[in-house]
Symmetry: C2
Subunit: 141 residues, 2 copies
Amino acid sequence: MTSDYELQVLEVNKRFYAALEALDLSQMSEVWLHEDWVKCVHPGWGLIVGWENISESWERIFRHTREIRIQLSYVTVRIEGPLAWVCCLENISNRFGEGVETAQAFSTNLFMLQNGGWLLIHHHASLTPPSSVQPSATTIQ
Amino acid sequence: MTSDYELQVLEVNKRFYAALEALDLSQMSEVWLHEDWVKCVHPGWGLIVGWENISESWERIFRHTREIRIQLSYVTVRIEGPLAWVCCLENISNRFGEGVETAQAFSTNLFMLQNGGWLLIHHHASLTPPSSVQPSATTIQ
């Protein structure tokens, strides 16, 4: 059974991807904890540390993206104390300039409970081979 | 200042890479939590779910590897409640058959406190471009 906290975390996870699809830095800013130690790895990029640098990276991505759609085909969530981690497969369709690119990435998203709300503190996404989830995986969404 | 818990987590993180370098499934088994929900992504692989599948993947990697050396050039650790996460850059030198391959991977390793000890519950490693850490990053090791 999915707990209230799990539903809240999944909601913030959805808002993260909605911000990405909307190419909206303000929405993206709302789901992240603004600290100098939060971390982000975009697929194929190096490690980015601190909200200021992460914000700049999203701005750069949004500036060079015409349209992006991300369908999550596999989502799991677990919570221990004030930390939650969501794992998901991102089915990405990316339009930039005149080109379209499709890809599949696996993402580890960590969230921290802060003043009653969950905020993203770590996003690690990396490209994976297609259809690469082991069948024993439990899908909750 | 690094706390006792942080030192313990870093020690288990070191034992994880020592097990990998030793190509020793028994040592590898000791650092993981044996549950069906723990997750692992090797660089370039798909998601693997559950200790049984993860154990098989290590066995396969060890069988096809002649020698592997991993130097960690960037390590950070944070703890919230019963969860810890270590981020590190793996400088990998991999010998298989007659070939040698070098690469750099970024890794997110999650550990959970269980009966006074920390166990690995999530390993997500992905190849990154060389020298890709932002200069603002804090290196503790």
